[in-house]
Assembly symmetry: C2
């Protein structure tokens, strides 16, 4: 049912933002019907113009919820299509951390204008978040945190919460501090709520899980999420409470980091906005640089083959196996690379594990290579004779061992050089394995076939 209402809406509001005149009257009513998630999906699939029309026609409460659910890049795209009043309204309703993410995507003068239009207190809390470096968790936390002191009783703490709840991002996870604002522990509304009013807050306090505002945002979010907490305190270098990181913000951080890794393992940059609503040239731009760099690296293979042109001319049959051998090398390398890239992202593997990883992958590669090598030997022997069988079989063995080892080490080496492991993974590994695989192939062929 929700689905079909959305389809009706897609028909009535055309992609250029024009509304089918005969149906204009029903629109507000139709938009009020489907669940928020369907309206979000509609907006995500729409051009900026249509998305702006939809947002304007929604009730205020629903339009804020929808705008809130969009990525910062998509929000920034919409800013141009929305009227000023709407923009100021949405901007003021965002949490300070989401506000900062959006500011990061906007041209400086628009960002400035938006900031100046904020109320003073809102501008101040936004300023706190803006003060932390990009990529730090301080930039993604909420500075609007409840102040619960360890010397309060449960009754006092609950009264304080009731008084200040309105301006707070969460009142469920409650950092407990001393009068210097130093973090002492964590409690929760659930614990306070089920305790007697006269109990001291200090008695309901757990050892805190917390982050430093300068910690790397992605790393912090990655270890935070599996702990299944709703939020955790963020402190400064002297362990004073400066904010709180909520699970939805941690989730956003991990989601966009994963997007980036997926994109790069597929040899392009992330689009950062829904595919169908991304302008065509933006899609081309996200891919062309990678393609060019990879094509230029592939010149290496032309070079290698050029060197062995005489061998190739002497036995044209060798060229038949080029795609099979380079393909298998590339696949083996990618298997190792994706596994290790993921393990690095999750923190399961660290930089100093490089030797352990190389040793594992060498053994895995040799095992895989033996299996494929035997099959390759038998197949090529049957069709093209014993010498070719020996060449193909032993090349497969060596190429698999080499590719798995290189593929496993490359992401760690990239991280050691300060690069994103995903950048140096799959496509580069394929190209590298192509070139070295071909060298292995022709050296073996020359010695076995005696050319």
């Amino acid at each position: 049912m929700g689905e079909s209402t959305i389809e009706v809406l897609e028909r009535i509001i055309r992609s250029d933002g024009e509304i089918e005149p005969a149906r204009a009257a029903e629109l507000s009513e139709l938009l009020d019907e489907p669940p928020i998630k369907d309206v979000v999906a509609l907006v995500e699939r729409s051009t900026a113009t249509r998305a702006a029309v939809v947002l304007r026609l929604l009730s205020r409460r629903r339009s804020i919820a929808v705008f809130d659910a969009l990525d910062a890049v998509h929000q920034a795209d919409l800013i141009g299509a929305l009227g000023n009043a709407d923009v100021y309204g949405f901007f003021a309703e965002l949490d300070p951390d989401d506000r900062v993410s959006l500011l990061d995507e906007l041209p400086a003068e628009i960002a400035d204008r938006l900031l100046r239009a904020l109320e003073r207190t809102e501008r101040d809390v936004t300023g706190v978040v803006l003060g932390y470096p990009k990529g730090s968790i301080g930039r993604r936390m909420s500075p609007e945190v409840a102040l619960i002191y360890a010397d309060m009783t449960v009754g006092q703490a609950l009264a304080e919460l009731r008084r200040t709840a309105d301006g707070l991002e969460t009142i469920y996870t409650l950092p407990v501090i001393d009068r210097d604002r130093s973090l002492l522990g964590v409690t929760s509304l659930r614990d306070l709520f089920t305790a007697e009013a006269s109990v001291a807050v200090a008695e309901l306090m757990d050892k805190p899980t917390f982050a430093n505002a300068h910690d790397d945002a992605e790393e912090t979010a990655r270890w935070f999420l599996p702990l299944d907490l709703l939020a955790m305190p963020v402190v400064d270098d002297s362990r004073r409470l400066v904010g709180i990181l909520t699970v939805d913000d941690a989730q956003d951080i991990v989601e966009s980091a994963d997007d980036e890794d997926t994109a790069r393992s597929g040899a392009h940059e992330p689009l950062q906005q829904p595919y169908l609503s991304t302008p065509l040239l933006k899609v081309v731009r996200s891919r062309i640089v990678w393609l060019l760099v990879l094509a230029v690296s592939a010149l290496l293979t032309v070079q290698v083959l050029d060197t062995f042109e005489d061998t190739l001319a002497a036995a044209v049959v060798l060229s038949l196996f080029i795609p099979l051998l380079t393909g298998t090398g590339g696949n083996t390398g990618n298997q190792a690379a994706t596994t290790v890239t993921r393990a690095l992202a999750l923190g399961d593997v660290r930089k100093r594990d490089v030797a352990q990883v190389a040793w594992r992958e060498l053994r895995v590669g040799l095992t895989l290579g033996s299996l494929l090598g035997v099959l390759g030997f038998l197949g090529a022997w049957a069709v093209y004779g014993l010498p070719i069988g020996i060449v193909i079989g032993s090349t497969l063995l060596l190429v698999c061992a080499m590719s798995a080892t290189v593929g496993g080490m490359m992401p760690i080496v990239a991280k050691g050089l300060g690069a994103d492991p995903a950048v140096f993974s799959n496509p580069f590994i394929s190209t590298f394995c192509d070139a070295t695989g071909l060298i292995i192939y022709f050296l073996i062929a020359k010695s076995v076939l005696g050319i």
Copy 2:
């Protein structure tokens, strides 16, 4: 500091679980020091034997938190290494949905034994979850949900919550029901807590965001997370409340689905447990089937080249460009495939968008192909003469257009056939683009060079 304690621990507890005797006395103290997240990381990097020793030495509260933070597959691995008493203890402490995930990973007789050791009420709630099919959201929800009726006052609701809080997964997001248990709306502890006791719950109720217990788990979790809610009600087919889905469970679902997609785009199956603690043969097994299938498909390229062997023999120079051309085709195809696979997973693209996607990718491919084609033409012309320049340039143009279109459509077609889009993506697209790219190449070469 936490880091170094962990390193000391890694030294004292050897990977076979043996403890360095001289240091045994310090152990409990050392294990009490580092934050939970570091102990989780230690356990994830450890063999099952060492992990079991660490879990046994932790305080009860900490060991439960650590066990809880592990993936179900990893938990299942540990079951064998832990003593019976520990296993029953951990199992009883898990939430019903996490318990079911673990049961799914265990051999039937062990699963049975664990279930029978549960207290009756716990066994009953576990049974509710077990009643829903694998892959449904009912299997991942918590059936222990607060019963807040719309005709209660805030005071009554809060009293009811205080009374039952202990057995509930969350008391923050509160589904509101009528006396038939039909879902009417949602409210929150925050709203109740800041309202007057005499207000009717019905007045604080929002239109609910909810899922049906039979809905697909991954799809549901994907649309739920961006809404930044802490939990949402789950209902049966007659819209009666049966449970609640919390953000951490949704997060787990998405995380393991992403793991699977990443693995498959890298041509292997997910390990489902931390890389360094996975036995070597399990790593081999996660890769060998893919490698074999891909190698067999690559026989297609041998076939194609065999067909054009005369052309190759007549102009050996053509073989120099084989890896460059197939590589570029594969890269272009993968770019399109990863983008569309991700968009499908996020719900940005649906099955019926296939024509729109194909049309977008054709235009993107033609744009990319024109750029690369011009460069390829100029380069090949300079080194190998005009005819080869024309062959390389026009092959690049056509291969890019073809690969992008096929790469973009393949994941959607796979989904239409009921397969995981990621399975049919990158590696198969590379193989397919290799073979068709070679055909394009040799047909162009034959007609331009006149062989």
